[in-house]
Amino acid sequence: MSVLRFLLGWLSRPFRDEHGDAMLTTVEDHWRAAKPQLGAWGRLTFWMRQWTAVIRLIIELEVQALGASEERRALWILGVGADVKHSLRALLNRPGFTAVAVLTLGLGVGATTTMFSAVNAVLLRPLPFAGAESVLVLEQVDTRDGTSSGGLSAANARDIAGSTRSLSHVAIAENHGLRLTQDGRAVSVRTWLVSNGFMEAAGAGLHLGRGFLPDEFTEGRDRVVLLSHESWLTRFGADSAVIGRRLVLDGLEHTVVGVLQPGFAYPSAAGFWGPRPERSWDDERRGSAQLHTVARLAPGVDRSAAQLELNGLARGLAASHPVANANLAVRATPLREHLFGDIRTPLLLLLAAVALVLAVASANVAGLQLARSAGRAHEYALRSALGANTGHVLRLVGVESVLLGLGGAVLGVLLAHFGVGLVRTLDPAHLPNIQGLSLDLTVLCFSVGIAVVSAVAAGLLPAVRAARVGPQTALSQGSSRTSGGLRAGSARDRLVMGEIAVALLLTVAAGLLVRSFDRLMGEDLGFEPEGRLAVQVFSFDADHRPSLDFFPRAVDALRALPGVEAVGLTSALPLADDESILSRAVPTPVATEDPGGTRPTEERLAHLSAIDSGYATAMGIQVLTGRMFDSRERAESRKVAMVNETFARRHLPAADPVGQSVDLAWRDAGALEVVGVLADVRPRGYESDPRPEIFVSLSQFPTNGLTFVLKTRTDPGAMTQAVRESLWEVDARQAVWAARPVAELLGGWVRQRRFNTALLTVFSGLAISLAAIGVYGLMAFSVEQRLREMGIRRALGGGVMDIMAMVMKRASALALIGVGVGLAASLAVAWLLRGLLYGIKPFDWPTFLVVATCMFGVALAAAYLPARRATKVHPMMALRGE
């Protein structure tokens, strides 16, 4: 509204007086009526359209006002045409200036466009959900500390759906794997089992077929599936006859009823969506609140009203189920925030950083324009003297700036084309929708817009200045050689100091991130991620009952594969991200016993996993004391356990943990003797701390969901197909759930950090180069302006070094002030970044010192060339030039 009011202010007076208020009320009325139905994108378009229409109106009225008669209108248009011609000629006559200006602008615009295209793809484009703005994600939070459980339990979700008035749909989704048997072989397909109302709540659209019918959410009638658009393309060859086809899933016939719209991958990418009937065990598991829950606001209800109602419902649920629902609260998060909340801040920080790069570029162009306008003051003055008014001079400069801006935009878009490719190679898988990263119309409009705005902004300051200079002043100075004046000089000085400060600030930020990244990569993971392949299998027999005898046979088969050095098995792989490999480490109460019996037995939580005898070797985890599990562990032999270092240190402080006993409250484990201690591992990559862990032997506690770890001699990724074939040879019914190199899993945990660090480094490099160009340009210009003075100094016996010192002194002064201002600003930025740092303090003085020194050095180096040129001036040359 404020932008509109501002624009209306530019309407010609009579029109504004007559229609201004009415226009404002019309837009207000329209906005009030349209707002509730519009998403973020729709709202933006609404205002863009209103603004453009007003701008068009302004131009139309201006053109009309310029001349009621056709001739005067034609003259004005011819004037602009002449300006364009004149400006083009002027720009081409100074190819050096034009090239540097266009190049500088192009670099800034290219970087900004690249970053904006990422922001556009991730944050701005509409989500592939109908009415996405009304979709909420519900999760249970603990009233004591606000930690989220990640979802709701089926029973709580059902009860909330039954009593809410503010939500039209509430539904859950359960992560599931369906084994699809094709040609006698089984493959695992990721599936979301969803409760009634899920598709309506999420706003999923259908590409083909129909959604689920209400009676398909009953046990026995639930053998129907929807395909994701992607699996329809890849698995079923985009065949529309797939509707009605029968597939054998988990050994049972299922019917394909529909294909979801392209891009719909919610709660995450999957091949199938199936109905989830209410289960007999839902009520027992009321306390296990991990099912992804989605809800849709009823028409006309806003989020705060829904949250208020949910607070009441949560209190009711806590009262009626005091044990399972102790400390229960339910939080509703808008879908967009749920999907993008984590990445919005870093992404916007990067956009801010690149905007600073653009600002430096604009400052450079402004500096160039200032230098030029000093030279052109004569021309402007002559024009004024001949009757051109300020408006005409401004129009001329405006036209020229727009032309420069367009040049910068063309170059910028070209550079952004490569930049986008570069961003893709950084593989920012943490950014949703990034596949859609492209230079679309929105992005193009954006870059042309910012290029022209920056160029005009850069040209305006010098133009206003030039237009203000009285013709007499300018003309009386005669030749432009001595002009330029003190004022233009000091403005350029300030611009260059600003550039140095901004470049320093970006470099400090990049430096801090690089140092953090370095520290992080230096951390010991406790295992070897390189050259390892992780393969997860959930094993079932012909009747779809968990099957246990598959694994020992499979391990033997895999060991026999060429290229495989070692094979191990675990129920919980470190680095498992749940997107591919599911981690099943269970927090389990453990009682430890002090051998002396001096302290009472105490229960603690440790993460429990089951491993086989080959696991430590295959993962490269060290056995610190005692022994690894081996063939002595059999189902009927005495039950034993291993612990990790942290567990031993915290819970078994006696001299030797080996031989002590731990009491596991899990299955029928009971008291286990500790036989060995494994080195600590970081379970969630570099940034996570080791936690107390306890291991049992798979021979004694078998389970059916396990991950093979293969230590390979060659590229582990290339082994995937051979491993699949080999497992099918053992048992064709068994499906691989996921196969990923362990290093790739690790990559997932550092990807976002690497992405931020790499981009910020590129941006700071750009800013430094631009600032260096700025310093060079300024010094070269001032040397050129003072050639005569230098010549006289030389003629009067001034030494080469004196002149060199004079130039360098000025450059050092500029650089010092710029660095000082930049350092002060960097302190604030470092504080903002503190959440992204690792292993260093925000005020990491070595970074500050190194960056400040480098920046100073770069500034002096940039000033050196012009300074040397000054010393080469022959006294006679300079004087003769007059």
């Binding site: 029109f15 007559e18 229609h19 208020d21 009415a22 226009m23 404002l24 009320t25 019309t26 837009v27 009325d29 329209h30 009526a33 359209r49 209103q50 453009t52 229409a53 007003v54 701008i55 068009r56 109106l57 139309e60 009621a68």
Partner: protein
């Protein structure tokens, strides 16, 4: 500008579609700015949504030509909302334009472009 005033309704066309839709909206009753926007948007199933800038550019031109005029406000109405009404001349222009369009459609039928 003055010379365009009170032009002969039969030679006023063809009208821009914005002008035509505004005249149509006002032909069925006096409306204020957003009233016109809403009516046009409803009648065209949202295919034509007028921005304030476009609307008032047209209103100014149509007022200059005296195709529409400002209607007296009802007592107690919001003073910022101006109500517009179609004039007799405006009705004749609308009628002339509608006839012209009808003739065009007739030609299309004769050429079997449209089903007759």
């Amino acid at each position: 500008m003055k010379s365009h005033k009170r032009s002969d309704p039969d030679s006023a066309g063809p009208l821009t579609h914005v002008v035509y839709h505004i005249l149509l909206a006002l032909a069925t009753g006096n409306r204020h700015g957003y009233g016109i926007v809403k009516h046009v948007s409803e009648r065209t199933q949202g295919r034509l949504t007028l921005e304030a800038g476009t609307l008032y550019a047209a209103i100014k031109r149509m007022k200059d030509q005296e195709w529409i005029e400002e209607a007296p406000r009802e007592a107690g109405a919001d003073s910022r909302r101006r109500i517009y009404a179609i004039t007799g001349l405006g009705r004749r222009v609308l009628l002339a334009e509608s006839r012209r369009l009808e003739d065009l459609v007739q030609l299309a039928r004769e050429a079997s472009v449209l089903p007759g």
